[in-house]
């Protein structure tokens, strides 16, 4: 891989992240009724002269009366020091909320990815090796339906079955991984399965089509001709050469899972970043929204960058284009 490819990818990272943070900053300032108005008017019923004065005072206190550019630079300077301001509603530093919630969401996303990969890749391989047999048809139908069942429907369906047939209830209190790993896994396994079902479908399809491509190539025929066992041909030669696009695709999904967790976390009452974000949006807790979206962009771009570099490393041709 050429060095300037890596440098170019790294250099792009910072402006894109800054661009995303500016985008969110401006978006949240387009909202009708700023936070000062919301905080003042939620207590009183109608707007009086006193309240208008309060709004003005609060704006000055929160620095909302300054130009947007100044506010942004101020926010950025603090954010770079890890200070994301105070959550208006939870009345504690946003960085505390992030520290508590981000690891949970990352754990859920990682668990989802592991579960999905563990069954999606073997299914794709079997489906390709036994192309046009009943196994292939079953796998193809299952993966098309997996693509078509939205996560919020399968999630609710799983929850319904658990509640109805197993008397399982969403836990009232979340158990952290480090305090009780078994209990923690019990809590996260269902949301992870619901999400894994959804993302395994495209992984299976891609593995299948890649395998079908590779299995017809000359080097596979050579491997067979020199008398290797079918097992060695499929797993040693064909699969290894099929996995490249699959790996990048999985990485790409890993980033998008951060968005997906919003929905599963809400269905299964997991107190992660996704549910915190949805709550912050609906309660107009803008400092919290701003910080969470920024952190999500950071992780998302970080994963994308990692995937790009990984791809360049796995396939040296990429960096030379």
């Amino acid at each position: 891989m050429r060095r300037d490819y890596i440098v170019q990818r790294l250099v792009m990272f910072v402006p894109t992240l800054l661009g995303a943070s500016i985008l969110i900053f401006i978006l949240l300032r387009l909202v009708p009724g700023d936070i000062a108005e919301i905080l003042v008017y939620q207590t009183g019923s109608e707007s009086s002269a006193i309240q208008q004065k309060q709004v003005k005072q609060l704006r000055a206190e929160l620095g909302l009366d300054r130009p947007v550019a100044v506010q942004y630079l101020d926010w950025l300077a603090n954010a770079l020091r890890g200070d994301f301001g105070q959550s208006y509603l939870q009345r504690r530093p946003v960085s505390d909320i992030l520290r508590e919630r981000v690891p949970r969401s990352l754990e859920l996303a990682a668990l989802t990815l592991v579960l999905a990969v563990v069954w999606a890749i073997p299914l794709g391989v079997v489906s390709a090796v036994r192309q046009n047999t009943w196994i292939d048809y079953v796998v193809r139908v299952v993966s098309v339906s997996g693509l078509s069942l939205p996560i919020f429907f399968t999630g609710v369906l799983i929850l319904y079955c658990l509640v109805r047939f197993f008397r399982w209830l969403p836990p009232l209190e979340f158990v952290e991984l480090w305090s009780d790993p078994v209990e923690n896994l019990k809590q996260l396994i269902w949301p992870a399965l619901a999400q894994a079902w959804y993302i395994s479908a495209p992984i299976t399809r891609l593995t299948r089509s890649q395998m079908l491509d590779v299995i017809r190539q000359d080097f596979v025929r050579t491997a067979r001709a020199k008398g290797l066992s079918e097992r060695a041909v499929v797993y040693g030669h064909a699969l290894r050469n099929s996995l490249l696009p699959v790996v990048t695709f999985i990485g790409w999904w890993g980033g998008r899972l951060l968005g997906g967790v919003v929905i599963v976390e809400i269905i299964f009452s997991v107190p992660g970043m996704g549910s915190a974000l949805a709550q912050a949006v609906s309660q107009r807790d803008y400092p919290a929204v701003q910080a969470m979206v920024f952190v999500m962009a950071l992780i998302f771009l970080g994963i994308n960058l990692f995937v790009d570099l990984l791809y360049g490393w796995l396939d040296p041709r990429i960096g030379h284009v």
Binding site: P32, L257, M296
Partner: protein
């Protein structure tokens, strides 16, 4: 007419799953277009007892506010289809034009536009949609606007790469050499060669847009709560999971069937339009 019928038979024979998808999509369109005639009651009519299980009078039961689920699901098809089609037409078309023009002229404008695309794609899609809805406020048309902003950059990027390869072809050089102005080259030589990509982008993204709309409504940030959105119906159903399972099953199955139909049809269209995959269709 005869040729039309025979081409349908041929499509069905070669793409049986695609034909099944086409039937589902046709039913969806019919439900959406004829909703006022098909639905026995108004979608917002709360005149019945709440939580009635499915019966002859109410095939899909009633919801927590005593609204007829069958009527809401039919009107929901209209809402879903409207959001899906409108946002994809705006988003993919704008994005496509954006990609075509910037890729064709290249240079500084192209570089700058790539940075805008990067920025818009720097967030997981659902998160961007959430932030947009928070800023825009809840309404059906704002969902369309948010989806347009979500879809345009992807379309721009896809079309850009297609146009870059077209631009390098000799026939573009030839067109320029005989004195075609740029607008004519774009309109008559570049754009027609991007139609296959455009069609695939449209079919794939309609299903996607419908799912995002339902997700936003599910999160309480899509259409206003009394609108018959399948996503919002699912949320209401989630709150009465054990008492009234039909409340989440009906909209959930409606979304799944719709997306399945669109996916099957989209797969078939891609197979037919992609020359590398084209069989003996000719």
């Amino acid at each position: 007419m005869r040729a039309f019928l025979s081409s349908i038979t041929r499509f069905t024979a070669q793409q049986p799953l695609g034909a099944a998808g086409a039937v589902i999509v046709a039913l969806l369109v019919a439900a959406a277009v004829f909703a006022p005639a098909l639905a026995p009651h108004g979608p917002k009519e709360t005149a019945f007892a709440p939580y009635l299980p499915p019966s002859a009078a109410f095939p899909f039961g009633t919801d927590n506010l005593g609204r007829d689920q069958l009527s809401r699901v039919i009107w929901g098809a209209r809402l879903s289809l409207y959001v899906g089609v409108a946002s994809v037409l705006f988003g993919v078309t704008l994005g496509a034009l954006w990609g075509v023009v910037t890729a064709y002229f290249g240079g500084v404008a192209d570089g700058a536009s790539q940075r805008v695309v990067d920025t818009l794609m720097a967030l997981p899609p659902i998160i961007l949609a959430l932030a947009l809805m928070a800023a825009l406020g809840q309404s059906v048309n704002n969902v369309v606007l948010a989806l347009t902003i979500l879809l345009a950059p992807t379309a721009a990027r896809t079309l850009r790469s297609v146009v870059l390869s077209i631009k390098a072809s000799p026939f573009i050089e030839a067109a320029r050499a005989v004195g075609c102005p740029h607008w004519r080259v774009i309109a008559l030589h570049v754009v027609p060669n991007t139609t296959a990509t455009y069609i695939v982008l449209v079919t794939v993204n309609i299903a996607y847009a419908i799912v995002v709309e339902a997700s936003l409504s599910f999160l309480g940030l899509g259409a206003p709560p009394d609108e018959p959105s399948w996503g919002a119906m699912l949320t209401a159903g989630t709150q009465a999971l054990e008492a009234a399972p039909w409340m989440f099953l009906v909209p959930g199955l409606a979304i799944s069937l719709t997306v399945l139909g669109l996916n099957l049809l989209g797969d078939a269209i891609r197979d037919v339009t992609d020359p590398r995959l084209r069989g003996g269709l000719g």
